[in-house]
Structure formats: structure tokens, C-alpha cells
């Protein structure tokens, strides 16, 4: 780990990752051992490792898997679902499963075709559905907090993208914890300070069987491009990604970013259909999309 100037053997690395996770959970006041945590599980290395770590640390963490209906010639969703189920069974953990097609009549690629969001790629629709359904289920199922497996590379890539266009609203919202408010469940990212490389190493060293295939729609995505650019930077300047993210968090916490009007939170209203918070005056984006897909079906 060049960014930490640290080299550990396998056993010490497997101890170090959970210890650091515990440190970040406390530092950012993510949750306590008395709270119920819902972990968003994709079947990938990060979410399964997060679930593993929280269990080892003694937290009450159940999983949530969303069946997205993505095939891409490799049966991607079925494969990832199998990995999630296998991990839950092997560790005696509870996994909630929601199949998007069964719930809303269409898979993510089908919803994407109807909604025209994302210019032919379903990633925008996928993100919208995940955010909406994870929030809804975390609240409906009575969880205190929703945890995702975002790692530092994910966070640095988002930060990089938002910085390139100076999206003040998104920049002010990004962080390890999004507090619960107005119908939004608390959202936390306990792995946000680990490099993607470290999380892969953890999954491999721990023997976690995860879906190695990339989502077929992720190829050529903006987030992967930003990660590659940041990795080039990291190659020449070890620690650059970590510094980029941590200095941003410090600046944000210190109130050094976007002083003035942007400090006012966006005004939210309950969606007239599902009741979840939205900036729209009537229905939220998710309900508008579902309504559009229902109309298209008639």
C-alpha cells in the first residue's frame, strides 16, 4: 500500500482492514452496534467484503439484493444473485431480495429503453432505481441505516467528475455519511477510505467468491474512465487519490466550499405517489418513469 507506505502480510492485512473500517465508522459517526444496518449487496467484491467486515466487527447487518434483469450475454444479474445468496447462506445471514421486473413489470434495460434516460445506456436508470428502492426498503423494513460498499476510487471518481463541471450541489452532498432527513434513510459508506485495489485484495485474501465479470453496460462508462485517469495520477504520485478525497472532505467540513447561497439545502416535497422526498412539485423521477413505462405497456 504505497499510499500508506505500509506492507502487510496476508494475516495482518486481514486484521488491518476491519480495524480501519471500525475506525472510519466511529470517526464519521456512521452507526452503533445497537442499530440495524441494511447492506446493499451487488454480489461484487466491495459489497460482499463490507458485509463480511461488519459481521466480523459484531454489527447487526442484513443484506439487500436488487435483481436488475441485466443479461448482457453473460447472465450477469443471475450470476451476481447467486454470489449474494451463496455468501448469505455460507455465513448464516439474512438477505432481502427484490426483483425489479417482478415488482415493476420491466427490467432495468427495458425501463431504460422506454424512459430515454442515459442516451442508450441504462446506467442512469439503474442508479435511479437503486437509489429509490434501497431508500424505500431501508425505511419500510425498519432499518436505521443503509450501507453501501463504495470505495475510495468510487468516491474519488465521483468527486473528480463533479469537480470538472463544478457541480456545487452534488459536491456539497458527497461524503461518508448522508444524514437521515425528510424521508431519506441515513446512508453510509464505511469503505470510502480504502482503495479499490485494497478491497479486491481483501476479498481475495479472505476467500470471498464474488462476481468478477464487469456489468456489461459499464464498459466505456464515465466512472471507469475517471478511475483510469486517477490511477495514472496515482502511479506517478502515490497517495494522490487519497489526498484528493480527504482534502475535499476537510474543506467541506470546514465550510470552505461554496459559501453563500449554496449552503441552503434544496427544498424537498413528498412525491404525490410514493411519498419519498423529491425536488419536483408532484411525482418524483422514479414514479414518473414507472408511470411512463406503464403507459407504454397499454
Amino acid at each position: 500500500m504505497r499510499q500508506h507506505k505500509l506492507a502487510l502480510c496476508k494475516n495482518h492485512f486481514l486484521e488491518w482492514v476491519p480495524q480501519q473500517t471500525e475506525r472510519f465508522i466511529r470517526k464519521y459517526k456512521m452507526f452503533t452496534r445497537e442499530e440495524k444496518i441494511l447492506v446493499a449487496i451487488s454480489g461484487g467484491k466491495d459489497s460482499l467484503s463490507l458485509w463480511d467486515i461488519l459481521g466480523r466487527l459484531g454489527y447487526q447487518a442484513d443484506g439487500l439484493y436488487l435483481g436488475l434483469g441485466i443479461d448482457g450475454g453473460i447472465d450477469y444479474s443471475s450470476g451476481s444473485h447467486r454470489m449474494a445468496e451463496k455468501f448469505a447462506r455460507a455465513n448464516g445471514l439474512q438477505l432481502h431480495v427484490l426483483d425489479v421486473r417482478r415488482e415493476y413489470g420491466r427490467s432495468i434495460p427495458e425501463l431504460s429503453e422506454i424512459s430515454y434516460r442515459g442516451h442508450g445506456k441504462p446506467c442512469a436508470v439503474c442508479g435511479l432505481v437503486k437509489r429509490h428502492e434501497m431508500n424505500r426498503l431501508a425505511r419500510d423494513l425498519g432499518y436505521d441505516v443503509l450501507a453501501t460498499g463504495h470505495n475510495l476510487d468510487d468516491e474519488a471518481a465521483v468527486l473528480f467528475g463533479n469537480t470538472l463541471v463544478w457541480n456545487a450541489e452534488y459536491l456539497l452532498r458527497q461524503g461518508p455519511v448522508l444524514a437521515e432527513r425528510d424521508g431519506f434513510a441515513r446512508k453510509v459508506k464505511p469503505l470510502c477510505r480504502f482503495y479499490e485495489r485494497e478491497m479486491t485484495a481483501y476479498a481475495l485474501a479472505r476467500g470471498i467468491d464474488y462476481i468478477y465479470d464487469e456489468c456489461p453496460f459499464a464498459e466505456g462508462s464515465q466512472s471507469i474512465y475517471y478511475k483510469e485517469v486517477l490511477n495514472q495520477l496515482e502511479s506517478g504520485r502515490p497517495g494522490a487519490k487519497l489526498t484528493f478525497y480527504l482534502r475535499f472532505l476537510e474543506a467541506r467540513a470546514g465550510g470552505e466550499l461554496f459559501k453563500g447561497e449554496n449552503e441552503q439545502p434544496t427544498h424537498l416535497h413528498p412525491c404525490t405517489k410514493c411519498g419519498q422526498p423529491t425536488t419536483a412539485l408532484d411525482q418524483c423521477s422514479f414514479c414518473r418513469m414507472i408511470e411512463k413505462s406503464t403507459v407504454a405497456e397499454l
Partner: protein, 78 residues
Amino acid sequence: MHMVECKRSEATMAVKLVLRDKEYEIRPGMTLLEALRKAGIAYESVIATRDGEMILEDEILKEGEVIKLIAVISGGAR
């Protein structure tokens, strides 16, 4: 097959780096970091394994070895 560096003699067996469906042949005797640079692969984007065990950047790659590279980057709607 991507031939990155020609073999110096017929008696020298190259090191093979395997990343998903791509293979790169590298001259033995380099460190892992040097070999990845030769192949144009960012060290940060992979984990290298030899016989299932992870190896570090300063490991010297020996003649005839097959090094499996595991891609670490995932993307899309996360």
C-alpha cells in the same frame, strides 16, 4: 497475444501476464512493476497473482512464469 518484449534467445522463456482474455509476454528478470509498465497496465488497476498467491510490485518475475492479473476496477451505476 500482445508481444511486449521479444525473447532474447530461444532458450529464454518469457513471462506471461494474463489479464482477462489478453496475454502479454515479458522478458524475465524484471520486477512486477517494470513488467506492468512495459505492458502498459497501471499497477493500481490490477492485483497480480502467482499460483493463486498475491505478489508485490518489487517481485522479480522469473523465466516461464504465468502471472494472472486480476482487474480491480468496477464501474457503471454504483
